[in-house]
C-alpha cells in the first residue's frame, strides 16, 4: 500500500496506517458543496456515511435524525451547549461516539473514540471536526493529478 514516512534522525518511519479515497466538490443537498468528503463508519454498525472533513469545525457534528439510528452507540448526553458556526449558532449535546476511518486503498482502518455534537439545528452533512476527533489524528491529503485520484493518508498522532 502507499505510505508516508517521517524522517527521524537517519531512519524513515512510516506514520500512515491507512489510505483511502476522498471526494472533492461533493454536492450535499441544495447549495452545499463539500470540498473534502470522506467515508466513515459511525458507531460499530456495518454501514458507512460520507462526511465533511473540516479542520476549521470546532466539533464533529451529527444531525439529530442520524443520531436516532445510532442511539445505542452514543454516550450519555452532556449539558445543552451553543456552538458558533459560519451559519450561526447551533445548540446541541456533546456525546461520545466511535468513528472509524476506512482504509479502502490499503493499510487498516482506524477507530477514534470521539465526541460529537448532536443537534437538531443542523441540516447539513455529518462533519468530522477538530476537537474530539481530528486533534489526535495525523493525516495528509494528496489531490493527485486527475479527478478521482484524491487520496487521504491517516494514522494516529505521534506514532
Amino acid at each position: 500500500m502507499p505510505q508516508l514516512f517521517l524522517q527521524n534522525a537517519q531512519a524513515y518511519v512510516a506514520w500512515s496506517s491507512g489510505v483511502a479515497r476522498y471526494l472533492t466538490d461533493y454536492a450535499f443537498g441544495n447549495n452545499r458543496i463539500l470540498p473534502v468528503a470522506i467515508l466513515c463508519r459511525l458507531g460499530n454498525g456495518n454501514f458507512t456515511d460520507t462526511a465533511l472533513f473540516d479542520t476549521a469545525a470546532p466539533w464533529s457534528v451529527l444531525r439529530e435524525d442520524m443520531a436516532q439510528t445510532l442511539e445505542e452507540e452514543l454516550g450519555e448526553p452532556g449539558e445543552l451547549i451553543s456552538v458558533k458556526t459560519h451559519m450561526g449558532p447551533i445548540k446541541g449535546y456533546l456525546r461520545t461516539l466511535d468513528i472509524h476511518l476506512l482504509a479502502d486503498l490499503g493499510g487498516t482502518d482506524i477507530k477514534v473514540e470521539s465526541t460529537v455534537l448532536v443537534t437538531g439545528d443542523w441540516s447539513g452533512p455529518t462533519v468530522l471536526g477538530f476537537h474530539g476527533f481530528l486533534e489526535k489524528l495525523r493525516f495528509a491529503l494528496d489531490p493527485g493529478v486527475a479527478e478521482g485520484e484524491e487520496i487521504i493518508y491517516f494514522g494516529p498522532a505521534g506514532a
Binding site: 479515497r21 454498525g45 454501514f47 470546532p58 439510528t69 456533546l94 479502502d104 493499510g107 482502518d109 474530539g132
Partner: protein, 221 residues
C-alpha cells in the same frame, strides 16, 4: 503578613474569581493561607486600574492550593499589583464553614465555568480546569460527564480494513446522481439499494429487509 504573595487562580478571562495566596508570618512555605476576595468575580480590570475606586475586602478561607495558570505574564503583573495594593485592604471576619447550599452553589458555578469555556471554544482550558476540579472535588456525576465528553479522542489502529467501496459507488454516482437529487441514497459495491428523503427512514427500511450491512449512505444535491 509576609512578603511572598502568590495568586492561585484559573486565569481564563480578565474577569475571574481570584484567590490570593499569602505566605503567613514565619511558617514560610509550609503554610500558605488563601484569601478570597469578597467582591467576586474579581475584576482584574479593576485591580489593574491606576486608582481603584473601592478598596476590596478579603477574608481568610483556609490553606492555599496551587492551580494551573495559563497566562504567566498576566499572573506576574497582577500579583505584583495585588502586592502593591495589599496594605490598604480591609480584613473582615474569617470565613465560617460553608453551608451545604453554598457548596452546591459553588459546584454549580464550576459547571457553568466549564460550559462557558466550551462554548467559547477554549477546549484545552476547559480540560485543564476540569482536571483541577477532579483533583480538588469529590466525585461528581456532572464532572464525570464533562470529563467523558471533553476527553481527548483515543485513536486505535484496527487489525483490518473493512473497505468502503468508494470507487465503485463513485462510478454509480457519476451516472445516476441527477436522478436522485435531494434524496438520500444507499449503495453497496456500486449497486443501488434504495433512496428516501429522510436518512433515518432509509436506514430503517434497509434494516427491515436485511440490506443495511455494507451500505454506504450519501445525500445527493
Amino acid at each position: 503578613m509576609n512578603a511572598v504573595i502568590g495568586l492561585s487562580s484559573t486565569l481564563g478571562s480578565r474577569r475571574a474569581r481570584g484567590f490570593l495566596a499569602v505566605n503567613s508570618a514565619a511558617t514560610a512555605s509550609q503554610a500558605l493561607t488563601t484569601f478570597d476576595f469578597i467582591r467576586q468575580p474579581l475584576d482584574f480590570n479593576y485591580l489593574l486600574s491606576p486608582e481603584p475606586p473601592v478598596v476590596p475586602t478579603w477574608q481568610k478561607t483556609g490553606v492555599g492550593t496551587q492551580a494551573p495558570v495559563q497566562y504567566i505574564a498576566d499572573l506576574i503583573f497582577i500579583t505584583k499589583k495585588l502586592y502593591d495594593t495589599l496594605t490598604p485592604l480591609r480584613e473582615i471576619e474569617p470565613l465560617r464553614a460553608p453551608s451545604a447550599t453554598n457548596i452546591a452553589l459553588n459546584a454549580r458555578d464550576k459547571m457553568l465555568e466549564i460550559k462557558r469555556l466550551v462554548e467559547s471554544g477554549r477546549i484545552r482550558e476547559a480540560r485543564r480546569y476540569l482536571l483541577g476540579l477532579r483533583t480538588s472535588m469529590e466525585q461528581d456525576p456532572e464532572i464525570d460527564l464533562w470529563s467523558r465528553v471533553l476527553s481527548e479522542p483515543k485513536v486505535t489502529v484496527e487489525p483490518r480494513a473493512t473497505g468502503g467501496a468508494l470507487g465503485e459507488n463513485s462510478a454509480w454516482l457519476k451516472q445516476h446522481a441527477r436522478e436522485y437529487q435531494g434524496l438520500w441514497v444507499a449503495l453497496k459495491q456500486g449497486v443501488f439499494l434504495g433512496s428516501h428523503e429522510n436518512r433515518a427512514e432509509l436506514h430503517r427500511a434497509l434494516e427491515k429487509v436485511g440490506k443495511i450491512s455494507g451500505a454506504m449512505f450519501v445525500r445527493l444535491g
